[in-house]
Symmetry: C2
Amino acid sequence: MKRRGGLTVGEVAERSGIAVSAVHFYERKGLIASVRNDANHRRYSPTVLRKIAIIQVAQRVGIPLREIAEAMDFLPPEEKVTVKHWEKLSIRWTDDLDDRIARLQRLRDGMAGCIGCGCLSMDTCKLVNPDDKIGTNGPGPRYLEEDAPEVEGFVGT
Amino acid sequence: MKRRGGLTVGEVAERSGIAVSAVHFYERKGLIASVRNDANHRRYSPTVLRKIAIIQVAQRVGIPLREIAEAMDFLPPEEKVTVKHWEKLSIRWTDDLDDRIARLQRLRDGMAGCIGCGCLSMDTCKLVNPDDKIGTNGPGPRYLEEDAPEVEGFVGT
DNA sequence: GCTTGACCTCAACTTAAGTTGAGGAAGTAG
DNA sequence: CTACTTCCTCAACTTAAGTTGAGGTCAAGC
């Protein structure tokens, strides 16, 4: 196979640790790009490895590919990408990550509170009623504690 | 519509804040149960509202329905479910949540470090190399910094 | 007596992130 | 020359968690 002209899809797959099909997939989604040689085979710039690494980190942060693609659209046309650009993405995704962590922590604190009180699913429970809908009479879990005692009716009592 | 015999699917949907189709779906997945009246209409015990509330909290924690169903399989046959049981589930999922938070925090710390050093995708980067595969020569992102400088070959240099 | 509303079932569609497989071309090793 | 490997495209399948729609039943209200 012709050397000269960049990395083959197989090399990219092996070195980035993802499957060839995933490399194809990322390309279809516009996350990475390649040029074709005369045999219509993809050739990648080595910077694609950096990009794939970024993609993987972003995915672990929980960013969907669509958003990763959007963020990467703001990058200059390949060779001009600098460390500054990676830093920007990094900061952006760190903020996302902070949000996610904060949300999970609030949830955890709620859970911890509920372990003590055993209130899970009660109408005053922050966990079940995260938006504090109580009293709005809109849909959402309510009246739960009112129902539980008078089980009457079920099984035909 | 006959009153007597428990909540209708519409009532469950409205009071739990999920769609009727979702109630059906949860039932198909074995997460909740109903009995049928003579018109073949579902009738639910009010405890189903509690269960759905639990399902929603667990989902927000990030537990897939399959696992929620498994956990709920350990619950006694309906009416015998006590606050103790909810507490057990709560504790179990709090642990899951702690893990999830810890993982995200490690990731965040890695990101923060990378913002300073601009190393994203370097071979020494904990983020890109979470398992510290460096030197194993196995697949995974490596050599990245070795490649970047000598871009030669691409575009035919 | 007919329309309306809530319910029923079953099948197909949706999104995300890929994987798997069929069918074919092209370059390399023996 | 033939076999092997890598590559190509395109279509279909996968899982999760539901939603949407078609076609049908049943009781109530006017």
